[in-house]
């Protein structure tokens, strides 16, 4: 496939250098086009999109309260339907804090109602906008300002895709910017389907994950190749793995990032075991839920 050359997102936005979420929005809008309305709660994108009077997304943006993304998006969708405007995509665009944690109830509500929106979680695995505090998306062994060493995050990351899958929605996908064609295909597919769609984007964060700003794509890619972040889709309940991980050693991924510098060896092994277990379950689902 060819990546659309059209640039909707504008330069001069306020993202940190190497921000995965900035690139994610750029690709998402390439796929969705100008007839898109975005809802943004409290998250890094509140800042990235520019202060009062600016709008670097290039499409209408409604800034809203932290926990309301899915509900506001549902309201916009319903309003457009009431006005007979059926060619506009409504996208909720929230971080992991606003999705996995405080926004989960509204997300569940919209998913259960099958509201015709695309809900995107750009997951940088902590509350990065407030300065790197743990979220329920923070992985085991990661250091954050609220889980400083040696009190590293000791509980596994919440499985958002499976939580949303339990709502029987038409489309769920994981994506990351290291695989732009896969990424854009998924947004195009989400746009073409009616009902609730979730796209879970792994979004590396140089200051939060503590890696050099030119390593964002490498970190994204290694997350997939080590099996930590599998690329897969659940379309009408059917599981499809988009890329089989190479299962490269977990150290390659962890050692790139300062947030894992204090991870004990046994926790590293536990992560490897968790990767394998998740992979086997995923494979089994892909096998049986065809």
């Amino acid at each position: 496939m060819i990546i659309p050359t059209q640039e909707i997102m504008q330069p001069n936005h306020l993202a940190c250098p190497g921000c995965g979420a900035a690139l994610a929005m750029r690709y998402a809008l390439k796929a969705l086009g100008r007839k898109t309305i975005i809802v943004i709660p409290a998250c890094c994108w509140t800042v990235i999109n520019g202060p009062w009077g600016k709008n670097y997304a290039g499409v209408p943006v409604f800034h809203t309260a932290f926990e309301t993304t899915a509900a506001v998006a549902a309201g916009i969708r319903t309003s457009l339907e009431a006005q007979g405007k059926n060619d506009i995509t409504v996208m909720g665009w929230a971080g992991d804090g606003g999705t996995f944690d405080i926004g989960l109830q509204a997300l569940s509500g919209a998913a259960e109602r099958n509201d015709d929106i695309i809900y995107v979680c750009y997951d940088n695995e902590a509350y990065m906008n407030t300065g790197i505090q743990r979220s329920s998306a923070t992985p085991v062994g990661a250091e954050t300002t609220t889980t400083p060493a040696p009190l590293l995050k000791d509980r596994p990351k919440k499985d958002l895709m499976e939580i949303v899958a339990a709502h029987s929605v038409p489309y769920i996908a994981s994506a990351t910017i290291a695989y732009p064609t896969d990424f854009i295909k998924k947004f195009e597919k989400a746009k073409s389907k009616r009902g609730f769609k979730l796209i879970h984007i792994f979004s590396p964060c140089p200051p939060g994950h503590k890696f050099a700003e030119n390593k964002t794509i490498d970190v994204s890619k290694l997350a997939v190749e080590t099996g930590i972040f599998p690329l897969y889709e659940i379309e009408d309940g059917v599981y499809k793995i988009n890329k089989k991980p190479k299962f490269r050693p977990i150290e390659e991924y962890l050692s790139l990032q300062g947030r894992f510098k204090n991870i004990p060896k046994e926790q590293m092994r536990a992560i490897e075991e968790a990767i394998q277990m998740k992979w086997q379950r995923l494979q089994a689902k892909a096998e049986y839920l065809k």
């Binding site: 009062w52 600016k54 309301t68 509900a71 319903t78 309003s79 339907e81």
Partner: protein, 378 residues
């Protein structure tokens, strides 16, 4: 026009039906529930084209209402008590974003202990959210105020909350004059407003630095103050159709009163009797009902209370550690020294006309000088 026997909730639902509402987003809560049940039944019967978002909480009800309003629809929701408190954060958002949402609130006490009965502490806790608040005293007012509220919200770009005492108003049936199609032209008018538009891609509600934030807030405050005059203009237009007039306050009784009983909500109906009795006893008295609470109708109240010797404010609400909220607002706004506050009727506690009369009389005769509590029959 025809007369129907309706409770306050039915009256709201009828008015919503006739207001060409595009989107309703709501969650059930006692004693509001029958409003949204009725709206749902109108939709189910195909009597209206309204879309109904059946949200999972009041927080999402207001959030969805906000999204729907921001993208150009006329939006209604309803709530009560704990539900209103859950919405609190989003109420600020809706007002700050200048969204003309109309909401009915069934005034109900706040837990703990659990109470489902009338009290205004729920809506008065939302005093500073930037919503226009209108307090109705009977089902006819509730019905009429819905139409006025939509016009007022859209003219002021400010959301409007219509408050009515739970059960006393929401569920007590009384004759209400309802329109056939006389109201259509009045309610069909919708001014142009700035909305989410893919052809004009703007960002709404972005981060504002202090130099931007303060002017925005001051503008919002001025817009709110300006809605008093807008209310009068719209209410005058409404009176041409309905022959019923509304204003920020309502007065009844002796024009040269020496004693004023100030109330809001359904106690107003009861207090008519008290004022009649006081006038019969030779104490020149009047009733002043506050309909518009935010913005605060300072000028109208000043005019009304000027020259009155004693003012008694009956408050079915309480600010812990202070007392009745309307009393405090009147004293604070008008700087009066002759006001006694009476907290009464909390959590649906009965307030009758004789008790109001006797308490007001005691204040007038100087037997009660301090703020007090009306117990009535314990």
């Amino acid at each position: 026009m025809k007369k129907l026997v309706l409770g306050g909730n039915d009256a709201v639902a009828y008015a919503v039906k006739q207001s060409r509402v595009d989107v309703v987003s709501a969650y059930p809560i006692t004693p509001q529930t029958s409003i949204i049940e009725k709206v749902a039944s109108f939709i189910a019967k195909g009597e209206i084209n309204t879309k109904f978002i059946r949200v999972e909480s009041e927080h999402s009800a207001m959030a969805a209402a906000m999204g729907a309003s921001a993208s150009g629809s006329r939006v209604f929701t309803a709530t009560s008590s704990q539900g209103l408190l859950l919405m609190h954060e989003v109420l600020h958002w809706a007002a700050g974003a200048g969204l003309p949402i109309v909401m009915a609130n069934a005034n109900r006490a706040v837990a703990p202990p659990w109470s489902i009965w009338a009290e205004q502490t729920d809506s008065l806790s939302q005093r500073d959210t930037g919503w226009i608040q209108l307090y109705a005293s009977n089902s006819q007012e509730v019905y009429d105020l819905v139409f006025i509220a939509f016009r007022l919200a859209e003219a002021s770009l400010t959301p409007v909350m219509i408050c009515m005492d739970g059960f006393l108003l929401t569920h007590t049936k009384e004759p209400v004059e309802v329109f056939d199609n006389e109201i259509d032209e009045f309610i069909s008018y919708k001014p142009e407003r700035d909305i989410l538009d893919v052809d004009k891609p703007k960002a709404f509600g972005a981060l504002a630095f202090p130099k931007d934030y303060m002017p925005i807030r001051i503008k919002q405050h001025e817009k709110m103050l300006g809605s008093i005059d807008k209310f009068k203009t719209i209410a005058d237009e409404f009176s041409l159709i309905s022959k019923r007039s509304y204003g920020p306050i309502y007065q009844y009784g002796n024009e040269n009163a020496k004693l004023a009983i100030v109330v809001s909500g359904s106690i107003s109906e009861t207090a008519h009797l008290s004022v009649d009795a006081l006038n019969d006893e030779g104490i020149p008295s009047k009733l002043v009902k506050i309909t518009m609470f935010r913005p605060f109708p300072k000028e109208a109240l000043k005019k009304s209370l000027d020259g009155v010797d004693k003012i008694v404010v009956f408050d079915r609400n309480i600010s812990m550690g202070k007392g009745g909220i309307f009393k405090d607002e009147i004293v604070g706004s008008l700087g009066l020294g002759n006001v006694v506050g009476v907290v009464c009727g909390l959590g649906g506690y009965d307030v009758n006309d004789m008790d109001i009369k006797e308490t007001a009389k005691s204040v007038f005769e100087g037997k009660i000088k301090q703020d007090t509590i009306l117990w009535g029959e314990k």
